[in-house]
Symmetry: C2
Subunit: 192 residues, 2 copies
């Protein structure tokens, strides 16, 4: 295993993106320098400008959310919230420093661009999907309240590292989640 990855544009680009994802997630936009990313990638800093044009564009590409996880919308509706919990909070996000990309991006939320991208994904993916399940008035507000809870759990678990949540498993949380979701959505939800 000689590890001679030299002179391979795509591999170098991919490596830069991988490292950028991790560092931007962990240290935020302002706390990460292009030299940091280049050093961790074993690459010359100026390649970043050749490949991405600017630090900002590297950030945008590195933190671009991929496709919506397909299995989120599949499966029984009464288990949607449980699936969201696993997808948002209890998945292996080690590529993003251990946090869901949305939570990681909050660290760069001093920049309006980033806030807007978070908003679009939260509203377009999570609120929209939950809204359809609401039985009763205030559909949007209820859906946002439930989304807020998922975001809050993700933050307290991985950023603040509150003792009980930091060590809890998906199965520990799911029952409480189901009860709350039932109450908020106005229809029975299951813990998955």
């Amino acid at each position: 295993m000689t590890e001679t990855r030299k002179r391979d544009r795509e591999a170098t680009r991919a490596k830069l993106l991988e490292v950028a994802r991790l560092r931007f997630a962990r240290e935020g936009y302002d706390g990460t320098s292009v030299r940091d990313i280049a050093r961790d990638s074993g690459v010359d800093p100026t390649l970043i400008f050749r490949y991405f044009g600017s630090k900002k564009r590297l950030f945008d590409e590195a933190t671009a959310t991929g496709e919506v996880p397909a299995d989120l919308l599949d499966g029984p509706p009464e288990e949607l919230v449980a699936r969201m919990l696993r997808s948002v909070v209890f998945q292996d996000w080690s590529r993003y420093g251990g946090e869901h990309p949305l939570v990681a991006m909050l660290r760069s939320s001093a920049h309006e661009d980033t806030r807007q991208r978070i908003r679009e994904e939260v509203c377009g993916t999570y609120v929209r999907a939950l809204e359809e399940l609401v039985d009763g008035p205030d559909k949007e507000l209820r859906a946002e309240l439930l989304s807020a809870w998922l975001v809050g759990i993700g933050i307290l678990r991985s950023v603040v590292a509150t003792p009980a949540l930091a060590t809890a498993t998906s199965d520990d949380v799911a029952p409480y989640l189901a009860a709350v979701a039932t109450s908020l959505l106005g229809r029975p939800m299951s813990g998955g």
Copy 2:
């Protein structure tokens, strides 16, 4: 009103702290320079080092959370959660750029110091107070789950600016909050 506040150590210190609070909250630690703070304060940048020693110590002092709001722990227990909602989410936090200081500090959570201070306040103030109300097992986990919800609401409302929550009032949210709190704590809670 001649606005000659010159040569007044305490007034200058206070002004620096006020501006620092706002900028650190809005732009985060890494996004704020001592020159920014000095310029907004109408003061020479080096005064910051004379008065506070370093940027870090200015940050610590500016973001130090004051006393726990006394009225949080007073009043009927069944309205505790409603009081917390008003105190955390729906208060006038314009001194901190419009967000609860804890939410604002999340923007600087790349630094472990900051994370630890957030943890101490969340656990020591909110989780602890809620824990005592829990009826049933998993006291700490349930209290953290409810705290997570308050944090999430604060974030979605002021940082992400999700449409329904951004325009909602305390009275719009309180009924849902009461229902969820009742379910999570295992005892009846009121919307305040």
